[in-house]
């Protein structure tokens, strides 16, 4: 039985080396601009960084994927097309994209470049996935976080390209790439600028012992004294609808599907993805190492151990998210 591929995030070259050393099969990253969906200050890779990182990873038989997964700006396609050209020139192993126009460009210009469909394309059904395969030759789809494991199994039975699913990290409760919440509060969006709830629009204020977080002037949360805090991602905030304040969309929680490895394997999933290009290398090293250990144990036919990643998760809680039906 082939083991899962473990796909790990890197926001910096140091994080990439941490991921490679901790046991990644592939590392995904973005260029230092709006062409990728983690366009955060101080993060991401110059062309030279990518070249060096590809050398480092390939020498250790680890692959490098480049995410070019925002939607190119009308009248300004150049930066996105150049990102695709450079990724091909730098000999990365795959590019992860969402926009049909850009996929068409990549398929035509670089027929040998391996294309993965980003979660930002939110392809959640057989027909949509086949469309990307037939039109652009997409070889793998990163599934949106809206499907249950049985739905993933059914889907895999009907498609003939690989699927990759998120197993750890931040969790969008909304269908990815189809969300303008950040844009509504700040004017900056994941699809256009590659940011969600951007730090430039975040403010923290102490209110006595409480900590309030605001985004674009809207209060996203107020944490009581001693209460675990979260980054003010809009959909993880506390709001009032009817009764008192509640986490209307999602708690500040992290996805952890380590307990679902047998089910995901049975469902035909090829690759497991860890979220967190914006997180520090300490996080990446710890999470990748834990998952590598779990995968080796699982591949050897032993029960998957419980590995404590509690310290790494937002809000101090973990969930299996949409993979189990009760989440809905």
């Amino acid at each position: 039985m082939d083991n899962f591929e473990l796909i790990c995030p890197a926001g910096t070259p140091a994080a990439l080396r941490a991921a490679v050393d901790a046991g990644a099969d592939a590392v995904y990253l973005g260029f230092r601009d709006e062409t990728n969906a983690r366009n955060f200050p101080g993060l991401n890779f110059t062309r030279q960084d990518v070249a060096d990182s590809v050398d480092y990873a390939h020498a250790r038989r680890v692959e490098v994927y480049v995410a070019i997964n925002t939607y190119p700006q009308a009248g300004n396609l150049g930066p996105w097309q150049k990102a695709v050209d450079d990724a091909a020139r730098l000999k990365v192993d795959a590019v992860i994209m969402a926009d049909p126009g850009l996929l068409a460009y990549a398929a035509k210009r670089h027929p040998d470049l391996r294309l993965h469909l980003s979660v930002q394309a939110s392809a959640a059904n057989v027909e949509a996935i086949r469309l990307y395969r037939d039109a652009f030759g997409v070889r793998r789809v990163v599934l949106p976080r809206v499907l249950t494991v049985p739905e993933i199994a059914k889907l895999n039975a009907e498609i003939d390209i690989e699927t990759e699913v998120f197993v750890f990290g931040g969790l969008c409760p909304m269908a990815e790439g189809r969300c303008s919440l950040s844009s509504y509060a700040t004017g900056l969006s994941p699809n256009k600028q590659g940011v969600c709830s951007p730090a430039s629009h975040v403010r923290y204020e102490q209110r006595g012992g409480a900590l309030a977080s605001t985004l674009g002037g809207f209060t996203i949360n107020v944490f009581g004294e001693g209460e675990q805090a979260g980054y003010p991602t809009l959909c993880k905030g506390r709001f009032v609808a009817g009764d008192g304040p509640a986490y209307l969309f999602e708690e500040p929680t992290s996805l952890n599907a380590m307990d679902l490895l047998p089910e995901l394997k049975a469902a035909g999933v090829r690759a497991l993805k860890i979220e967190g290009r914006q997180r520090g290398k300490a996080y990446i090293a710890a999470v990748v190492r834990a998952y590598r250990e779990a995968l080796e144990t699982f591949a050897a036919g032993r029960p998957v151990p419980h590995i404590d990643l509690q310290a790494m998760v937002e809000g101090g809680t973990q969930t299996t998210g949409a993979y189990t039906r009760a989440w809905r």
């Binding site: 126009g101 059904n125 027909e127 469309l131 969300c179 509504y184």
Partner: protein, 298 residues
Amino acid sequence: MTASLTLGPVLFNWPVNRWRDFYARIADEAPVDTVVVGEIVCFKRAPFFAEAIGDVIERLTAAGKTVWLASPILVGSERERAAMRDLVTADAGLVEANDMGALALLAGRPHAVGPTINVYNEATLGWMAERGAVAVSLPAELPAATVAVLAKAGRELGVETEVQVWGRAPLAISARCYHARAHGLHKDGCQFVCGKDPDGMPVTTMDGQPFLTVNGTQTMSHGCLCLAAEMPALADMGVSRFRLSPQAMDMVRVAEAFRAVLDGRRDGAEVAAELGGLIDAPLVNGFYHDTAGALRVA
């Protein structure tokens, strides 16, 4: 191309009688050219409207409206997939695709592309035109500069471009039902609590500031998008279709007001001022002006 008004699908869970009556009045009185019908937010609601949709289409068509059928926004489960396939193969009229799956099934025949499909640039618009798209309703978050490029490209490609000019903006879709969640219920046993809020459930911040609107699995803006004042500029760009998204209010009056702006009989800003008094929400236009969607730029 002459400019026209489109009435988007009712996004809220209205009782079927209200829904039927709403379309009867639209057929008789509203000066709109195209009416898009169908339950696109939640497949659980669809059976309620199934009994009435035939009558509604007939009534609208008889009144001279062009009727389009809208496909669901989020298609994941087998039931949602089956519903999408039925709609696309029914051949009951032009289909507005709201998911890439529907778009796949519509290849090679004329169809419309709804605002929940991501069309952000001319390359994607061109790809869609090749596949048979005749009209594309642009995502609400696009700024004027982007709309201008797409409208121009659309004219060259023979694809009509559409912009939403009235109604709460759709912001997100989820597999999870927030209406049910807010009521301590599970989606499978939701008791159709979304039916309690004909204009969606208001969401405020912890400081009491109105912010969003929940409509089942969909999240919308609290502010009501209004681009009445921007319509002449949009028309100059080459945008030829203007979408009104139904709210629980007098939509005939809204349609008449926008028709007057379109025909040059009334000033857009004046219409915005009038309509602003009819809905319990601030009017917003920030997306168009390339800033936070929740803002209103004078």
